[in-house]
């Protein structure tokens, strides 16, 4: 069962990498990278169950956090051009 899950996740990773490389817009790439990060978390979790090393699950959780913060930072940066601004509107 975990093998089937791993195969499915790997196929999804192939699709995400294809979209990240082909583009064509910036948002395609951002979504592809975000999705690939999620799939990395999942594949680590599956590997943890395959190998019986359950302490890897903590690392998978930390990856999820890093991925989320990274994507939010990229989006904010792309929208505003800097990190320290909130609110709406452009200068």
């Amino acid at each position: 069962m975990f093998t089937a899950a791993a195969v499915a996740i790997l196929i999804t990773m192939v699709l995400a990498v294809t979209r990240a490389i082909l583009g064509p817009t910036v948002y395609d790439r951002i979504v592809a990278v975000n999705m690939f990060g999620t799939k990395t978390v999942l594949i680590i979790a599956v590997v943890a169950f395959l190998k019986g090393r359950y302490d890897l699950l903590d690392i998978a959780l930390a990856y999820a956090l890093i991925n989320f913060i990274g994507i939010v930072a990229v989006l904010k940066f792309f929208e505003y051009g800097e990190f320290s601004r909130g609110g709406r509107g452009r200068p």
Partner: protein, 216 residues
């Protein structure tokens, strides 16, 4: 079993992404792909049971350096300048010879996980047998890095922290208002440059111009 398949696929993803990074001219896409590469690298480290190295790679490579690269992109151009096409013989030869030497050098290395490797003859036995009761961390690599070589890790952390502060001081990730050009203060010129280049980065999705990625 599925284990080697996962390893091979992750490593081939890394090769594909590295080739795409070299070929691509859109630097925002390159930054995204490098972040992806870093995340994959961390995944490979995790699969190889080096959890804390993987954690460092994910935090520094996928997190901080992506943001720093984007911050650099707002100060520079969005696209890489086109170079003159054609193959340069001398660099290609040098790279091929160096790569061949490196591959030749790996033939002398012990296999991965070989218990008779020289590095496993010195103190590794003691780590493997005693670290569980001495430190109490299930992962031996983590207990070595965080406890047995704790001062070493502390020094590395200090170095990385200093480097991060220096980079932030160079890039200036602070609040910066677009000022009218009536006053001439010390850092006014820098502020104007920021605004202009920010607009250069942000205008892509506004105009909806489809950009061509991955062109050679």
């Amino acid at each position: 079993m599925i284990g080697p398949v996962i390893d091979i696929l992750l490593l081939s993803f890394m090769i594909v992404i590295a080739l795409a990074v070299v070929r691509m001219r859109d630097l925002f896409g390159v930054a995204m792909l490098v972040s992806l590469f870093s995340l994959l690298c961390a995944g490979v480290f995790t699969v190889m049971d080096a959890a804390d190295v993987a954690f460092t790679e994910a935090a520094v490579g996928a997190g901080i350096s992506t943001i720093l690269m984007l911050a650099t992109l707002t100060r520079t151009a969005r696209r890489e300048r086109r170079r003159a096409s054609g193959v340069s013989i001398l660099p290609l030869t040098v790279v091929c010879i160096t790569g061949a030497l490196l591959v030749f050098g790996t033939s002398d290395l012990p296999r991965l996980g070989d218990p008779d490797a020289p590095i496993h003859k010195h103190v590794a036995d003691r780590y493997l047998q005693r670290s569980g009761e001495e430190i109490g961390i299930p992962n031996v690599v983590t207990s070595i890095l965080a406890s047995y070589r704790g001062y070493d890790t502390l020094g590395e952390t200090a170095v990385i922290f200093t480097a991060g502060i220096a980079v932030i001081a160079l890039l200036g990730l602070r609040r910066r208002r677009p000022r009218p050009a009536r006053r001439r203060e010390g850092n006014d010129a820098l502020g104007e440059t920021t605004v202009v280049s920010t607009a250069a980065v942000a205008d892509e999705p506004v105009q909806g111009r489809p950009e061509k990625g991955g062109d050679g």
